[in-house]
């Protein structure tokens, strides 16, 4: 391996893992996380260099059984995702130094750090893998290390449920990937990803379906999303930041790796677009109803994965239709949104982790007024909220802007399917617009309820600002959110993407630096011109909020989070499928004298109750039947062996 930055970075990461596995002391953990920080610095430099230079590196390495070999390949796509992983790790490693010390047992603290490093390491190697075998190997390592981190707080019953959900869904995802890669092997004789290009169109479609479902489960697209809102609240916040910010993107990487290697078909694009639109809309609609801050962020991740899938779907549709410029724009939008979501979602999860750490609750109903006690955390959370709500000139806005532009330019579509596609795109565009506006509403709610007004409980009252190192860990992604937004068009040009501004760009992206600059200037002008108005002397007046005649303002008068989302809950009641039930009994025969009654408002967990549970029950029933075969008597087993031999003989006689 002749890439010192890459080798060095990975070696430091492994060293950090080993260190905290072997030694259980605070210093070792700090050194280990310091090594993680250093390694992500090296890796970001490496990935940025690769992206800038546009080089490609192939590393053939260890092979222990003829087709099963580890080989690695780095092109611009994988360099982009290495950059994403290491930029997020940069902040998370600093944040974790203080955050992990909250646990009581020394051993668990060290295990936390070791597993986290292993998790990061495996994600990096998934992205670098050049063949199906090493991809799956590190994919499973990634799943298992994160599974352990999900059941990190194993005493809590909710962690068990979360881990079970996560384990089953991630195994299902692996099954799909396995079948796709084995199909690749049987048809081309190798696990190498370059073999995708050699498959016949029919085999390619099956491979696509298999890979798409495998990756969609891992990325949390609706209806395979259910594990996210369970796993994220259960795991520690730094791990949520990594899982939501990075691991979901690794699945997106896998999908892109395949799609860029083959000739896609039109219906793939339509399928991906449909999944994307549904995930985006349902993700944000469910998030609005949620009052658990981390679960809400998990639903918001589903929404953002939906937006990324919309970008990929548009890319496929435009590519098949021969519109290279628009395809490039959509792909760049999807890729950039991956990076943006990684940055602001890790920031938000870390800031939410600080809030949960300080107040001891995840319930929005119990928070409030934190801006007074945790001003820096509030500012960081605000930066994350503004980015995810896609307000200019932040990075989240730029990627959504690119998606909008791709949609708006779809009048260029031509051909026999064009009318159908245009109508489909209009529908998808309206879903996308609604999603984007609902996300803004969602983050007004979360920021407003958590940080503004008065504390609703004593826990929120007692909160204090978190240590400097934790703030610094969040400041890194926050600064990146602002910088990648402002310099987006320049970055695209620098890294040689076909989008940007000025001549030479196939698709124009407005220059956010210019917009942001003018905004600064106008703000200053407004401030300067209004500053001198008003009575100049006298102290600043402070009066209690008007309380409708009440003397003192009480937190219970504030608008509650449930109240905040009530209008939307009413408007979208068809989606939420709330079940109202009431029963009454009367003391007399004429139903006049009311005796007692019950009333219940229940939110039907649609996917859980109508999709997951029936499947689980069916599996359960089949398992019970199979278990009935095992009666523990020797003669029965001899009979089974005898029947098996007969069946085998018949099989070889008739079929082979």
């Amino acid at each position: 391996m002749s890439e010192p930055l890459l080798t060095g970075g990975l070696a430091l990461l492994l060293l950090g893992t080993a260190l905290s596995f072997l030694y259980r002391s605070k210093n070792c953990r700090t050194v280990s996380l310091g090594l993680t920080f250093l390694s992500s610095g090296l890796l970001s430099a490496f990935a940025a260099g690769m992206l800038y230079g546009g080089r490609e590196v192939l590393i053939e390495s260890y092979s222990f059984l003829s087709p099963l070999e580890f080989s690695f390949f780095i092109d611009r796509l994988s360099a982009g995702f290495v950059l994403l992983i290491s930029l997020v790790t940069l902040g998370v490693s600093l944040y974790s130094i203080k955050y992990v010390e909250d646990e009581k047992s020394e051993g668990r603290k060290s295990l936390h750090v070791a597993l986290m490093n292993l998790f990061i390491f495996s994600m990096l190697l998934v992205v670098l893998s050049a063949n199906g075998f090493s991809f799956l190997f590190f994919w499973e390592l990634m799943s298992i290390s994160s599974l352990f981190l999900v059941i990190y707080e194993y005493e809590k019953p909710e962690s068990g449920k979360a881990a079970l959900f996560y384990f089953i869904m991630t195994s299902l995802s692996t099954v799909f990937l396995f079948s796709a890669f084995i199909g690749l092997y049987t048809r081309t004789g190798s696990f190498d990803f370059r073999g995708f290009g050699l498959l016949s169109p029919e085999a390619l479609s099956w491979t696509f379906l298999s890979l798409f479902f495998g990756f969609a489960i891992k990325a949390g697209a609706v209806p395979f999303h259910k594990w996210l809102p369970y796993a994220h609240p259960a795991s520690p916040s730094n791990i949520s930041a990594l899982m939501s910010g990075v691991m979901l993107k690794v699945a997106i990487y896998g999908l892109l790796r395949f799609l860029l290697a083959v000739e896609p078909e039109l219906w793939w694009g339509v399928l991906v677009l449909a999944f994307g639109s549904f995930s985006a809309l349902l993700g944000v609609v469910y998030a609005l109803k949620e009052n658990d801050i981390k679960r809400m962020l998990a639903y918001s991740s589903i929404e953002n994965v939906g937006l990324i899938l919309i970008g990929i779907g548009l890319y496929l549709i435009f590519r098949v239709s021969g519109l290279a410029g628009l395809a490039g724009l959509s792909l760049a939008a999807a890729g950039f949104h991956c990076l943006n979501h990684a940055l602001f979602k890790s920031l938000l999860f870390m800031a939410a982790g600080s809030v949960v750490h300080e107040t001891g609750t995840r319930n929005l109903e119990d928070l409030g007024g934190l801006v007074k006690h945790m001003p820096q955390t509030a500012l960081l959370f605000l930066i994350g909220s503004v980015s995810i709500a896609a307000l200019p000139p932040m990075n989240g806005f730029v990627s959504e802007l690119m998606l909008f532009q791709a949609f708006f330019s779809s009048s260029a579509l031509a051909g026999a399917e064009a009318p159908f596609l245009k109508v489909l795109l209009v529908l998808s565009l309206s879903a996308f617009a609604l999603t984007s506006a609902l996300a803004a509403t969602l983050f007004v709610k979360v920021f407003g309820i958590t940080f503004l007004a008065k504390p609703r409980t004593e826990g929120a009252e007692r909160a204090r600002e978190v240590p400097k190192l934790m703030l610094l860990g969040q400041a890194i992604p926050a600064a990146l959110c602002i910088l990648t937004g402002l310099f987006s068009a320049r970055l695209f040009t620098l890294f040689g993407l076909p989008v940007g501004f000025g001549s030479g760009a196939e698709a124009e992206v407005p220059d956010m630096l210019f917009v942001g600059g003018i905004l600064m200037v106008t703000y200053l002008l407004v401030w300067l011109s209004v500053r001198n108005f008003g009575p100049s002397s006298g102290p600043r007046v402070c009066k209690e909020t008007w309380g409708c005649g009440g003397l003192a303002q009480h937190p219970s008068m504030e608008y509650s989070p449930a109240g905040f989302s009530e209008p939307l809950v009413v408007i979208f009641k068809k989606i939420y499928r709330t079940q109202l039930s009431s029963s009454r009994s009367f003391a007399d025969s004429q139903d006049c004298v009311f005796e007692h009654g019950t009333a219940e408002i229940r939110l039907i967990k649609f996917f859980e109750e109508y999709l997951y549970l029936p499947v689980a029950q069916a599996v359960d029933r089949v398992s019970m039947k199979v278990a009935g075969l095992q009666n523990g008597r020797l003669d029965t087993y001899v009979l089974y062996v005898f029947l098996a031999v007969i069946a085998l003989m018949g099989f070889t006689r008739w079929f082979a």
Partner: protein, 334 residues
Amino acid sequence: MILNSDISFILFCLLNPGFVLLISPLYMSLIKKVKAAAQGRKGPRLLQSYYDLRKLLHREVVYSPTSSGIMRVTPYLNLAVLLLASLFVPVIFIPEAPAGIGNIIVFIYLLAIERFFTALSGLDAGSPFGGMGSSRAMSLAAVIEPTMVIAFAALAYVLKTVDLHEMFAITSASAIPVSPTLVLVSISLFIIIIVETGRLPVDNPATHLELTMINEAMILEQSGKNLALIELTHSVKQTLLMAVLINILVPVGLSGGFSGGLTGGLSGGSNLANLAVSGLLGSALAFLVKAGLLAVIIGLFESSLSKMRLFRLPAFYMMAFFFSALTILMEVFA
């Protein structure tokens, strides 16, 4: 080296926001006047909004001890954002703007910044009214968003550009509306103006302390010069949205290819410059009259309707959505 296009853009940066800022309060009073007339009252003077703003600017600002920096920054930020947004909607002449200024999506999202921070400041003081206003405003804005985006997408479909400046250049180049479908989009745009500026039947700007209010509830805790800034922001927003509709449907008077002549005039002779200045005055006057007419229509529209129940509103929005989606469908199958 300063190019002609730069001069035209710098001039535009000074003239357009300035002009919009100057005329915006006028239409607030005009609409009130029309509504008063419809109800048989005399109504305020036409310049009443200006007097109100002057009065508020000289009053002290009272902050609640519960409130935070959000409350203090929002009024300034919102006006700044709307002034930036005014660069996207030329009302007098169309400059040669750098790429991105004029992008229709950036324009929509600049309005979203204003809404986001107003809603946050509504929650900031912890008053139940503010929270109620924020919740309703954000919810209704979210539901109108697809309509707004589809309406603008319909414009982009018909006029084949995502840039408002280019759109206006195309529409002002022809005497009649470029495409009959634009008339359909205009209906949606009109409903969007009604919704975004919080007018009947969506919101009642004339009430205070009633359960019907949305926007007024959010800014209940604002006072003094901050309130003046917020009122000004609101009127600028109304003018900009009206300008979009006017420049799409009746762009008569908007100087399309004027910038060349203008800068030529500046560097050439005083004759040309005089001509340019008188042309600008003509455009400004034309916009003043057209926007006045639209304001009268809005006033009459408001007078003819009563406030809708909150949860009836999505149906009202669907109407606007229908008209803009219809435009796109007509373009697709034409």
